[in-house]
Structure formats: structure tokens, C-alpha cells
């Protein structure tokens, strides 16, 4: 049954087999994607035709590696910029949210809290279309009232940032709140008694305490933004983000360059995730 109880051999063995199968199921697609990034073949498929780094480095007609592939490199750059702004915005607002719901009291707090977690249960596609529709309405309103043609309201870079920010802020709020709950408020009182005002207390004491949570919230925000597809799909303009760009390529047939990008993505995201985990473990 459990560790401390006697278990039959078949039970233990069966359970182990199940777990091994489960992990193979989990890792098989990633492993195959990575391996085929190094296959010397025009298609991301077996048979194995030898090891090559062409899909990363080559720059000859018919075989352009990722490091020379303008379209994909551009989309990586777009994604990185989107993720940067989403991270800054959602970390700031998420931290404000954590303070608001943990330390302040005001009327309608419960209703506002409910509203704050709503983005987690609204499908991403719906978030995308509602923001698209609303910004379009705003654009029409501005144009008809003042004759202003505001580019910001059309699908494009900033709309993608806002769309992703709308639900990623909730995640950051929850991550930071979890740590703020553990904060010993007598520390604040002590600082107040020593003459600090509320802002000084927050800046010098509470934010210091929250730093690990804010960093890990920011890391989560960056990764979530970098890989977001469903919300971005409806808000994207001429500058495609990486997931959108990859989707278009995968839909219309694929080359090992996609494997090469996937390999780099797997490498980068797992190192960000692992570093994040390492530091959050250390801080506890």
C-alpha cells in the first residue's frame, strides 16, 4: 500500500512499471524531437542518416539552419520583447495585487478578489477575442469622436502584450501572495515605531522579504508569455511571435529546423525553470 506497510511483489513491480510507462509517455515526444534535430535528412523522420549540425549552422540553399533563418530569428526576437514587457507589467501589477489583497482592507474586497482570479478560469481564446473586440470598439470610438487613428488599438505588438498580461498578472499575484502570507507583520510595526513611514517600510522591509517570490513570479510570467498561443492567436499583427510562427510552419509541413528550434527552446526553458526552482528552494 504505502512505504510503511508490507507490499506484495506484484503490487510494487506493477506500480513501478506504471510509473516508468508514465514517464516515457511524458518524455517520448520531447526526446524524439531533440534527437531528430541532429539527423542528416531533409525531413524530421527516421531512418537515421548520420549526425549533423546543419539544422543549426548551415547556410546553403535548401538547408538553412536556425542561426541563419531570418523569419524564425525575427519571431524569437518578437517573442522575447513581448515576454519582457509582459514580465515587467505583470510583476508590478501582480505585486500590487498581492499587497492589496493581503494587507489592505476595503469594501468589495471579496468581489474584487473573485474578479482577480477569474482570468484563470476564462479560456484563453475568449480572453483573446474579448480584448480584440473591445480594443476595436475603442479604436472606432476614438476615430469617430476625435478623428484619431490610434495604431495601438489594432492587432499587433502591444495588444499581444496586453492580452497576455491580462491573465499572467493573476499568476504573479498568487505567487507573491503566497509568500506575503508568511510575512511577520510585527517587523513592520517595529519599523513604524522606529519612525519609518508606510512606504519606507514596504520598500526596505516587505519588498526585501518578498524578493524571491517576485523573482520566481517574474520567471513564471516570462515563460508563460514566451510560450502563449491561444490568447496571442487573435491579437497578433504582422509581427508573429515564435509559437504563432512555428504553428504556421508545422501546419504547412515541417523541416528539421523546427526540431532545432524546439531543441533550443527545451534547453533554455528547462534551464530557466531549474534555476528558478533551485533559488526558490534555497530561499525557503
Amino acid at each position: 500500500m504505502i512505504r510503511s506497510l508490507p507490499n506484495s511483489r506484484t503490487y510494487t513491480l506493477g506500480f513501478k512499471l506504471y510509473i516508468i510507462l508514465y514517464f516515457s509517455f511524458l518524455f517520448a515526444p520531447l526526446l524524439v524531437t531533440c534527437i531528430l534535430a541532429f539527423n542528416d535528412s531533409q525531413f524530421p523522420a527516421l531512418p537515421w542518416k548520420g549526425f549533423t549540425l546543419d539544422w543549426f549552422l548551415a547556410n546553403v540553399p535548401g538547408r538553412v539552419g536556425i542561426f541563419h533563418d531570418r523569419i524564425n530569428l525575427d519571431s524569437i526576437w518578437v517573442s522575447a520583447r513581448v515576454a519582457f514587457f509582459v514580465t515587467i507589467l505583470s510583476t508590478t501589477v501582480g505585486t500590487c495585487g498581492a499587497f492589496l489583497f493581503e494587507q489592505e482592507s476595503f469594501r468589495f474586497k471579496q468581489s474584487l478578489y473573485f474578479l482577480m482570479i477569474a482570468p484563470l478560469v476564462i479560456p484563453g481564446v475568449i480572453l483573446g477575442i474579448s480584448i480584440l473586440v473591445f480594443s476595436n470598439s475603442l479604436g472606432i470610438f476614438f476615430e469617430e469622436s476625435w478623428g484619431l487613428d490610434v495604431r495601438l488599438f489594432g492587432p499587433g505588438f502591444w495588444l499581444v502584450v496586453l492580452g497576455q498580461f491580462s491573465f499572467i498578472s493573476t499568476l504573479v499575484t498568487l505567487v507573491v501572495s503566497a509568500r506575503l502570507k508568511k510575512f511577520d507583520r510585527t517587523l513592520e510595526e517595529a519599523a513604524m515605531n522606529l519612525g519609518a513611514n508606510r512606504f519606507e517600510v514596504i520598500w526596505h522591509i516587505t519588498l526585501k522579504f518578498l524578493r524571491p517570490a517576485i523573482i520566481s513570479g517574474a520567471a513564471v510570467a516570462f515563460l508563460m508569455s514566451f510560450e502563449n498561443f491561444n490568447t496571442t492567436l487573435f491579437l497578433v499583427g504582422p509581427e508573429a511571435t515564435l509559437p504563432i510562427n512555428l504553428y504556421l510552419q508545422v501546419r504547412d509541413g515541417s523541416t528539421p529546423v523546427i526540431n532545432a528550434i524546439s531543441f533550443l527552446l527545451i534547453l533554455c526553458t528547462s534551464s530557466v525553470a531549474l534555476t528558478n526552482l533551485y533559488f526558490s528552494k534555497k530561499q525557503v
Binding site: 504505502i2 512505504r3 510503511s4 506497510l5 506500480f15 506504471y18 510509473i19 509517455f25 511524458l26 518524455f27 515526444p29 524524439v32 524531437t33 523522420a45 527516421l46 531512418p47 501589477v93 495585487g97 492589496l100 476595503f106 474584487l112 473573485f114 482577480m116 477569474a118 482570468p119 484563470l120 478560469v121 476564462i122 479560456p123 484563453g124 481564446v125 475568449i126 477575442i129 474579448s130 473586440v133 473591445f134 480594443s135 476595436n136 492580452g163 491580462s166 498578472s169 503566497a178 513611514n197 508606510r198 512606504f199 498561443f229 492567436l233 515564435l242 509559437p243 512555428l246 504553428y247 508545422v250 501546419r251 515541417s254 524546439s262 527552446l265 527545451i266 526553458t269 528547462s270 525553470a273
Partner: protein, 290 residues
């Protein structure tokens, strides 16, 4: 005087924290959804002017392709949620209760890793494995089990598997959370009193795990219902997922009013199922999300 200034400061911090949060929620959540609702009740008349009408919703009920896709998406999402739970429970149980404690951290980490990678990469991996020229077909042909390749993509079973795979993490993590807090001695006591595995599962483990099951199910259900990528790439033309209807109305037909109506129906369905789930199990959303 002192008390007065203290009170004033607290008010100022409240304003500082409240403003960004209220701006965020009103401009990006509340107003867009109100606009979406209004949009769904408008339609163009013959001369191209917008007017109020129910025709977008009427069309949904009149055309079987729309409401059948809707029902199909709902039923499959519930099925995916259930399958995810059935597969994830033993894994969570193994990691928290059976595996040697020194492996626990490592196994949990291993579990989380694939989900940091973009959903697109994971789906792409499955496509390379399963398609007609894919890796699995290659091995089946080599070993002589098959004599010609079989297309394993673009059917319902594959699509369901892909959806289960995609949302697995959001079930396993809450389950690990609740099972960690389950006291081993309860299981030991039941065992000593002669309970078998099945009754321990039904009478002790599952009742204790309800909060985790509910929060995992809500997230998995919502993500599956709103997924566009996996049904589209793994189910192909036969996937008939409702988000694709929304996409078609918005991007292909450019009929935003119709698309808004579909979007709103999906939102109502998702909220309704989540609400029923919470009511049935006597949980609160604010508790479950944590």
C-alpha cells in the same frame, strides 16, 4: 494627530495598490467581456447597418454543425478531465506515498519539466511520432508488425490523448499537494483493520483528495475546452472543436458578431460546468485556486 496621519498614509497605500489592479481588471477583463456580450447581440441588416437582434444565437441552434460541435467539445472535455484524473492519481500517490523519500523531489521535478516547454513543441513531438512517416510507424515496419504505414494522427483517439498529455500537469500538481497532507497513519489504521486496497482508495484517499481533484479538474476542463492548438494539429480537419468555429468566424469569415456569440456560449458553458462542479463538491473558487 499621530493617529490621523497614520490613517492618511494607509489610505495612500491603498490608492497606490488599488489603482493598477482596478485598471487591469476593468480595462482588460470586465469591459472587454461586456463588449463581447453586446457585440453578440448585434447583427448587420441588408443595408450593412448594425442592429440589435438574437440572430447570432438563433443560427447556433438552427445549424446542427454548430451545436453538435459545441456538445461534442463539452463531452470530450469532460472525458479528457476524467481520463487525466485516472492517469494522474496513481502517479501522485506513488510520488507522495510509495517512492523512497529521497526520490520524491527528483520525481516531482521530472514531472514538471516537460510542461515548461511550449505546448506547440510537445504537440509537434507527437506529430513526428505518430504521423504516417513518423517514428512509431518506422519501428513498426522495421519489426514487421505492419507491412505498410498507418496514419495515426487526425483521429479522435489521438486528439484525446494529446489533450490529456497537454493538461496532465495541472492535475498531477494539485493531487500531489493534497496527498502530501494525507496522514499515513490513516491508511495504516485502515490496513490494520482489514480494509482492502479498493476500500482504502474509496473511503480514505479520494475523500481526502477532493479539494485537489476539484481544482485540478477545473483547470484541466477549462484548458481543454479552450484549447485550439492541440485539436487543430492532432485532430486535423475532423477535430470539430468549438474554438475552431470561433476562430473561423473571427479570422476567416470576419463575422465578429457571430464569433462573439460563439465565444460567449463557450464562456457560459465553461463557467457553468465549473460552478456545478464547485457546488456538487461544496468548494469555493477562491479556496480551490490556491
Amino acid at each position: 494627530m499621530k493617529a490621523f496621519s497614520g490613517k492618511l498614509h494607509i489610505q495612500w497605500t491603498l490608492v497606490c495598490f488599488l489603482t493598477p489592479v482596478v485598471l487591469w481588471l476593468s480595462l482588460l477583463i470586465v469591459l472587454p467581456h461586456i463588449d463581447l456580450l453586446l457585440m453578440s447581440f448585434r447583427t448587420e441588416d441588408d443595408s450593412g447597418r448594425l442592429m440589435w437582434s438574437l440572430s447570432n444565437y438563433m443560427l447556433f441552434f438552427r445549424e446542427p454543425i454548430y451545436w453538435l460541435t459545441f456538445v461534442r467539445t463539452a463531452v470530450y472535455s469532460i472525458l479528457v478531465t476524467f481520463l487525466t484524473f485516472v492517469i494522474a492519481l496513481p502517479v501522485a500517490f506513488y510520488i507522495t506515498k510509495v517512492a523512497a523519500p529521497r526520490f520524491q523531489g527528483f520525481l516531482t521535478l521530472l514531472l514538471l519539466l516537460p510542461f515548461w516547454v511550449s505546448e506547440l513543441v510537445r504537440v509537434y513531438g507527437w506529430m513526428i511520432l505518430l504521423r504516417e512517416s513518423g517514428v512509431i510507424n518506422h519501428f513498426l515496419l522495421k519489426t514487421g508488425i505492419l507491412d505498410r504505414p498507418v496514419e495515426m494522427l487526425y483521429n479522435d483517439v489521438t486528439m484525446i490523448m494529446g489533450l490529456v498529455y497537454t493538461s496532465m500537469l495541472f492535475m498531477v500538481v494539485p493531487l500531489i499537494g493534497v496527498l502530501e497532507s494525507l496522514d499515513d497513519s490513516l491508511i495504516e489504521a485502515a490496513y490494520d483493520l482489514g480494509a482492502n486496497m479498493w476500500s482504502i482508495l474509496i473511503k480514505i484517499i479520494i475523500p481526502h483528495a477532493v479539494p485537489g481533484i476539484v481544482s485540478g479538474s477545473i483547470v484541466v476542463f477549462m484548458l481543454t475546452l479552450g484549447n485550439y492548438l492541440t485539436p487543430n494539429l492532432m485532430g486535423g480537419k475532423n477535430s470539430l472543436w468549438f474554438t475552431e468555429q470561433i476562430y473561423n468566424q473571427f479570422i476567416a469569415s470576419f463575422n465578429w458578431n457571430q464569433g462573439s456569440a460563439f465565444g460567449f456560449l463557450l464562456l457560459v458553458l465553461s463557467s457553468l460546468v465549473i460552478w456545478v462542479g464547485l457546488k456538487l463538491t461544496n468548494q469555493k473558487l477562491s479556496k480551490v485556486v490556491k
